[in-house]
């Protein structure tokens, strides 16, 4: 196709475009403020600080007006809770749809799946009003409860559970196990990769969530990470060094998580998109 050498140039160019902004962010967070907007031409120091400092990091964790540590804690709490509940309830529903025989299954399943096409943009306002009526505004309940069930997750898990032979489950039944026992001791262990994948997707989605917390959380001490970071950058006296530090702190755990689990993550995209 393209000569090999040109292909290499292209590959490196795309890699640079993908990574340089991230690198620029991380390195910028390690610069003192006087240096931040200093190096703008092609030279080593466009990316590498002249004077390294952890000042920005100290500031974001110490400052009481922008308690980044608190926002991370809040976000972790919500994200972990949602991920755990989501794996549990979605897998139970998927197991039931995939393996159990019950009346109205043929009606309930398509109805359930039809929710896939309902866009969040349409339901956001009434959902907010509902959450408001329930008295959940400004509480984590508002962030957690509506986020647990994901039709997409159920859809994916059905595909995985469908591959478990029914005989295997029935054998368990005959040995006296309850359906819950079969679900937890046979179905779940056989779909660990899928569960890791979905857990990762759910966690990332929660770590990223911006609009919903922006709408339902007003109390600043309960705010989520993304909203907090966005707010920092809209302040009158924007401390860009600190924003870059906050951005970096927010990205590093996710990048590490991704590098460790990327096999599953990539696999999930592949199987969810292409299988059907």
């Amino acid at each position: 196709m393209v000569p090999a050498s040109r292909q290499w140039v292209l590959m490196f160019a795309i890699a640079a475009i993908s990574v340089l902004p991230i690198l620029w962010m991380a390195m910028g967070s390690l610069r003192p403020r006087q240096e931040l907007f200093q190096y703008i031409s092609l030279e080593w120091h466009l990316f590498v600080p002249v004077k390294w400092t952890l000042q920005n990091y100290a500031a974001i964790f110490v400052q009481t007006s922008k308690p980044l540590g608190l926002y991370i804690k809040n976000t972790l709490l919500v994200a972990v809770t949602v991920t755990a509940l989501s794996l549990w309830f979605n897998s139970m529903a998927a197991f039931s749809f995939a393996k159990l025989q019950f009346r109205f299954r043929k009606i309930i399943l398509p109805l359930f799946m039809s929710a896939l096409v309902i866009p969040g943009e349409v339901t956001m306002v009434p959902t907010y009003l509902l959450v408001h009526q329930l008295g959940w505004v400004d509480s984590y309940t508002a962030l957690i409860v509506p986020s647990v069930i994901s039709v997409f997750s159920v859809f994916m898990l059905i595909q995985f559970f469908a591959e478990i032979p029914r005989e295997l489950l029935e054998a368990g039944r005959i040995d006296g196990a309850s359906w819950f026992g079969i679900y937890s001791r046979i179905a779940i262990p056989s779909s660990v990769p899928a569960m890791i994948t979905l857990g990762l997707i759910t966690f990332l989605g929660q770590w990223d969530s911006y609009l919903w917390p922006l709408v339902v959380i007003n109390d600043e001490t309960k705010q989520m990470l993304q909203v907090a970071i966005a707010t920092f950058s809209n302040l009158q006296n924007t401390e860009w060094g600190q924003i870059l530090a906050a951005d970096t702190v927010c990205s590093v755990p996710i990048i590490i998580l991704f590098l460790v689990l990327q096999k599953y993550y990539v696999q999930s995209i592949v199987s969810s998109g292409i299988k059907g």
Binding site: R33, N234, Q236, N237, T238, E239, W240
Partner: protein
């Protein structure tokens, strides 16, 4: 008069940041309204029932034309400024509130008030007007504790409460008697703000439709500054949105 002498756009140095750039949001509206007021114009009628005859008055339009000319004709204002432009010598005149002084002092200790920069008294157009800002207090209809809420509002807007409010928030007190009680508010530079606010401050339009009003106003200024739109067209757009919102709250 546009500040042409100190304007060196080719070097990235601009004469003035007239009103916090051209962004969206309440802060943006807050600092832009005085342009209209100083020229003798207004946004809404005094009873806040209509924008007709106010936002489209010749005075208002004159102010808007002047604002637009800073960006597009004289080019003494930049559509986009680097961060901390004033502190780093990229902009000559900036319009800001008393809170900015402490911010500059802590972030740029090398940039000293009285040495590297100074505070000018409020300029004068047809009138002298500065926006009346800070926080408003209200008790909602659905409040479960209206009496207690009233007791709080009554206290915090009273002489003693206002002292605590100032100490905690550092927002200029709404009472002159409270301002007198703090020496730093009677000395340079804060005395300028206290005096001028007490003489020239004007509140923003008071109407339940304010969310629509503020959006329309900040967009109006952006239309003129950023997009260099025709003043009549931009005003007509803003009028349409404001009137629509006013109609809705009247019902």
């Amino acid at each position: 008069m546009p500040p042409k002498k100190i304007n060196k756009p080719e070097k990235g140095v601009y004469g003035i940041d007239p009103a916090w750039g051209l962004g969206e949001g309440e802060g943006s509206t807050f600092v832009k309204l005085p342009f209209i007021w100083q020229a003798g114009g207004d946004v809404l009628s005094p009873d806040a029932s209509t924008a007709k005859g106010y936002l489209d008055s010749p005075e208002t339009k004159k102010a808007l034309k002047f604002f637009s000319s800073l960006y597009n004709e004289y080019k003494v204002a930049a559509k986009e400024l680097p961060p901390e432009a004033f502190e780093t010598g990229k902009v000559g005149i900036t319009v800001n509130g008393p809170w900015a002084i402490a911010g500059i002092a802590s972030a740029h200790p090398e940039f000293k008030l009285g040495v590297d920069y100074d505070i000018a008294p409020l300029w004068k157009g047809e009138k002298q007007v500065t926006p009346n800002g800070s926080w408003n207090m209200a008790i909602t209809k659905a409040s479960k504790h209206p009496k207690e809420a009233w007791a709080f509002v009554n206290w915090v807007t009273g002489v003693e409460g206002a002292k605590v409010w100032y100490q905690e928030t550092k927002n200029l007190p709404a009472r002159i008697s409270t301002a007198k009680a703090f020496p730093e508010l009677n000395q340079y530079p804060m005395n300028i703000f206290v005096e001028q606010s007490s003489k020239f401050a004007k509140p923003r339009p008071v109407t339940p439709a304010y969310p629509a009003v503020t959006t329309a106003v900040s967009k109006l200024f952006a239309d003129l500054g950023v997009a260099n739109r025709n003043v009549d067209d931009a005003v007509a757009d803003a009028m349409g949105n404001i009137e629509k919102a006013l109609q809705k709250v009247k019902k």
